[in-house]
Structure formats: structure tokens, C-alpha cells
Symmetry: C2
Subunit: 348 residues, 2 copies
């Protein structure tokens, strides 16, 4: 007679074509049930949209069909939860999950597609707002060729210390753990002239080889574009969700919609939209000036069915604080409600 | 007796390790002279900073030393002129220079390193200003994942037409020839989720397989960052020079300095610096507001020894024109002097 144990044993022999590891070890097999000669199980994929999907389902099905006493096999396919994904990726990358020093509960990526709309500002303020709420927070600067995070947080950044277990992130004044390529360069304006594979491997190292320790939230500041860096983060890091940043210009909106489509295609949940540079206030007469035109944030958030988390004005004081490494002095009232919603949604 | 002809013959056999083509055919050998048994010639390299430099010089030297009657060989190394580079790259890529329909006199890349500082705006206005002066102008949008050019120039862009010789660029109202990935997509907000090699090959196709025809100037709008797209443009396109764009924020300045270092390392001449978003004017009271803080453009231009070409204010009208595909209606007075200087410098 066929039983669950024998089904599991057969599936143990099915290997993921990319890593060569067993789909059982990778945690891809769920809900095995046997009724008479009928076998049913679920194949959980890190993302639904992976090229190996059909092959894996076929391999798994055939492995079970080969067992004596099996009369029919039904395979359901679903996407992994965030926790399942963490397990999948750490096994796939060869890290031993039990031996890992890092224990990161939620990873939130800040994305835009377009440059210069304030991703780094939103990443920084989000990290700060979460820290203010008493969480352990990390900030990973995934913009390898145009990193902004260290400049915003430090007057004179310390160099990250290394141990034989990995690199230690640098702590900000308020205790946010930060890692950025610019912390590792001799000069802050040194150019990093790297093609995609190097960019990707740097990001993977920042995720895997940095000793983040126990974090409630890791905020990832993505570079503009929908190429290597964003792809690597979405494929290799188990994201709880993505925060999109836009500016009122329709031109920016178009590029942000590209980013949203990418996030959707990669199966990364979208937590919400922040509009930056929404308006400026004239310091002389108090007039509200819509420098980049009227807001289109409502429109974008409706189109993608995601909440508009907030609108941040253009404020010379922000530039000043960012330029002098004092972003931690920025008054957070305007940002606290944004963090509030994010915490709620990321914890869902 | 040794003579120039035999030297040239020996050098014909020396091949460039990357393309396998003869250094004679590539136009790398200049000024061959023979005095008695002493041979002297110049090896012209597309960029001085290429990894094969020493190997090539050694191979060339040894090839001549092997000739009977040669008592000494001296090799001078220098960088190619722009015209020599055009020849080098078209031969290296296997294009037959004589059969090429394209005849492009000057290629100017607009670069920043940082996103959202207005590279596309500067590229567009520069192309326009050159067109106004009566030149034949093309505009190549090298930002594959976040293209802005079509949106700025067209309400409803036409699709590029193809012929068996290649793709025809789309002409703007004022006759600027434009090519961008967004002209080839079904939807303008479709995401282009490509890793570096695909990005690079798209850019090479835009350069090589687009039927630009005879152009006085081709303006190339580079994406942010110092990775694949910028590298490919700097390696595969014979640039007359680079225009750097910055905004007043020191944070932007830092990233722009990275871009400048890259341009310098790649041997691309820097034509000058444009500061965008320098200030806003309150429409109510006329106050000049330095939204991103005081200008640092003078500082950057001094540090790199390049002229400050101009400062463009933040102007809601610009956003409006860019969003509605009407950038060609923007009054060019403020931009004409910038174009003037560029034309002078690019023609040097």
C-alpha cells in the first residue's frame, strides 16, 4: 500500500535544476495526502513566475507515479509565504539556516524605477520611523553605483569591522545598522565601474555575509531601473513587500509604473506608494508651489490597487540634513503615519 | 635593407586579442619611420586605459624586431582621435565602414551618475538647441529601463519603421531623429526587466543598426549609474565628449563626481557641467528659492577643470511641457548659450 512516507521518500529524489538540492530539503512540498491509490500534494514555489515551474511539477509528478500502488497523482502549485521563501533561499544558497547568525523578520524594499525621486530619503525616514517605534532596524543600500545612504546618516562614517564570521554593519546615531558600498570605498566619490554580475554579487554579500543579527525590519534601498540590482534583490532576498516612491511628474509616474509592473511580475507584494517632492512652500510668502505639476499619486495608487501612504513636500531643510549626515534630526511627524501603515501591512 | 613597407607587413600580422583583427586594419599603427636599422612607430589606442595596452605594444615590438636588418624598435603609444576611434570601432565590430549608411560627425553623451537630476531634459534641450542652429541632430535614449525621451517629444509617438537595412529613427516635430526602447514597446509603462548583457546589446543596436543617416550631432542620454549602459556607450561609441548634469544637492554632487571619475578613467573628454534645478521662483511673490540648497556647481566644475555651461531653474512649465510631449515649445534663450559653448568645444 502507498503511504505518505513513501511519497515523501520519492519526492526527496527530485532536485531543483538550479541548485541541485532536493525539493523536500528546499521546503517545496506541502500537504501530502493519500486516499486509496490517489496521491495529492502541493508544490510551493518561491515565485509563481519562475521558468522551472512546469519542469518541477512534471518531475515531482513522475517521481510519485513511478511508485507501486499509485493510481493517480494531482499536484497543486502555489506561491510560498515569506517565511517559506526565507527557508528556500537560505537552503538554496548553501547557508545552513540553523547556523545563521542573522534572524530578520521583515524585509521591505524601497523602489521607484526612476532616479532622483527620493528613494533613499524614503528608505532612511522609514528606517528611522521604525526605529523610533522601538524596532531593531537595518538599512541595506543596494544602489552600488550611486549610493546615498552613508552621506545621509554620517558626518564621517566609520569603516565596517570584519570578523571571521562576516562584516559588521555600521551603526547610526540612533542605532540603525547600515551597510553600503560607500562605507567600503577609500573615497566617497570613487566610481564603481562594474557590470551586472559584480553588482549582483555585492548585493548578495550585503544580504548574506553581513552580520545583521536579529532585526525586526531590514529596509533595502534599491537603485533606479529594473535591471540587475532590482532583479537580484527580488530573486535572492525574501521580501515582505515593496514600497514604491514617485514624484508628481507624469514622466516619473510612467517609470514608476514600470517598476510596479516588475514587482508584480516577480510576485513581490506592494505595500504602498509614497509621493515625494509633492509641493514646495515659499519661505517668503507661504504659497504652496506645485513645482512638478499636480499630484498624480492617487491615480497611480488606484491603478495598482495599493494605498497612498503619504506625500512629502520639497523642503530645503531636507536637503540640508541629508547633505550634512544629519537626517536623524528630521522631524518625523509627517512620516510616522506612513511607518504605522507599513508596519501593519508588512506584518500581515 | 629594412624599409617601411616591410615593417607594415610585419605589423599586419599582429592581431588585437579581443577582436582578432589586424592592428593595421584597425588603424592602430601610425607614423612608421626607418632610419638605418632603427624603426620607430606609434601605436594608437582607442583609450589609453585599456587592459591590452602592454600586450599590444609588446606584440607589435616583437613582430618588427624579428625582421632581418632591424637593430632597434621604439614604440610610442598615444590615444586615438575621435575620428580614428570611429574607424577602430566600426572595423572591430565587423561593420564595413565604407558600406555604412551612417555618417555621424559628433557624438555627445549626457551623463550624471545620479538619477532624476535632469539628464533627459538637458539631452532634449541640447538636441533642440543644436537643431535650431541648423544642424542635423539625432537623439539616442540609452536609458533602457527608464526611458524618458519619447514622452518629452511626442504626444503619440509613431512606431519606428524598419527596412532591410535597419530601423529608421522617429522624427520629432522639429526634425530631430529619435530612438528609444519606449518607441518599440507595446505600452509605454511596460517594464524592461533585463540584466546587463541585454541592456548593452540594445544600446549597441541603437548605435549600429539604426539608420541615422548623416548627422552633425548625435546626443546620447545615459541612464544613472556607472554600470553596463554607461560602460557600453563609453567603450563602443566614439564619443566627442561628455556633458555632466548635476543638481545643487551635495548628495547629487557626490554621485556626479563618481560619473566624472568614470568618464576620466574611460578617456572620454568632458565638455562641461550643467546644473539643473538650481532654484525655483515663487509664482506669487517672485522670491528665488534654493530648494536643494546653495549651488555647488562652481565647486565641481573647478575640481574637474571643466566649464560650468549653465544653470537651469526648477520651473513648473518645464514639467508640464515634458509631460505633454511638447518640450519643443520650451523657450531656448536660456539654453542657446550652453549649446553655443558645446558646439565650440565638441568641434575642437
Amino acid at each position: 500500500m502507498i503511504d505518505e512516507e513513501r511519497v515523501r521518500g520519492a519526492l526527496e529524489g527530485v532536485r531543483h535544476p538550479e541548485s541541485g538540492r532536493s525539493i523536500m530539503e528546499l521546503g517545496m512540498v506541502k500537504d501530502v495526502s493519500v486516499e486509496g491509490g490517489k496521491v495529492r500534494f502541493t508544490l510551493a514555489l518561491p515565485f509563481l513566475d519562475v521558468p522551472v515551474r512546469d519542469q518541477l511539477a512534471r518531475d515531482a509528478k513522475e517521481a510519485v507515479e513511478g511508485l507501486e500502488g499509485v493510481e493517480g497523482v494531482e499536484v497543486d502549485v502555489r506561491e510560498m509565504t515569506q517565511r517559506e521563501r526565507v527557508h528556500f533561499f537560505s537552503v538554496q544558497e548553501g547557508a545552513t539556516p540553523e547556523g545563521r547568525a542573522n534572524d530578520i523578520r521583515h524585509v521591505v524594499a524601497v523602489m521607484s524605477g526612476k532616479g532622483g525621486v527620493g528613494k533613499s530619503l524614503v528608505s532612511g525616514l522609514l528606517a528611522l520611523a521604525l526605529r523610533e517605534k522601538g524596532f531593531e532596524v537595518g538599512l541595506l543600500d543596494a544602489d552600488i553605483t550611486g549610493p546615498s545612504i552613508p552621506k545621509m546618516f554620517f558626518r564621517r562614517p566609520k569603516r565596517p569591522e570584519g570578523s571571521h564570521d562576516g562584516i559588521l554593519p555600521v551603526e547610526s546615531g540612533r542605532g540603525i545598522k547600515i551597510m553600503s558600498i560607500n562605507l567600503l570605498l577609500e573615497r566617497e566619490d570613487e566610481a564603481v565601474i562594474w557590470r551586472g554580475p559584480l553588482i549582483s554579487s555585492a548585493i548578495k554579500q550585503f544580504w548574506r555575509d553581513v552580520l545583521w543579527g536579529r532585526l525586526d525590519y531590514l529596509v533595502v534601498d534599491l537603485p533606479p531601473g529594473t535591471s540587475d540590482a532590482s532583479l537580484t534583490v527580488m530573486q535572492a532576498v525574501p521580501l515582505s513587500g515593496v514600497v514604491l516612491v514617485t514624484s508628481p511628474q507624469e514622466l516619473a509616474g510612467m517609470v514608476v509604473r514600470k517598476a510596479a509592473r516588475m514587482a508584480r511580475r516577480m510576485g513581490a507584494p506592494m505595500l504602498g506608494l509614497v509621493e515625494n517632492m509633492s509641493y514646495a512652500v515659499c519661505p517668503k510668502c507661504g504659497a504652496k508651489i506645485e513645482i512638478f505639476g499636480p499630484s498624480r499619486a492617487e491615480e497611480i495608487s488606484r491603478a495598482f490597487g495599493i494605498p497612498l501612504l503619504g506625500r512629502i513636500p520639497l523642503d530645503p531643510r531636507i536637503s540640508e540634513l541629508c547633505d550634512s549626515g544629519s537626517i536623524e534630526e528630521y522631524p518625523l511627524e509627517r512620516f510616522a503615519p506612513i511607518a504605522e501603515v507599513l508596519v501593519r501591512r508588512a506584518s500581515d
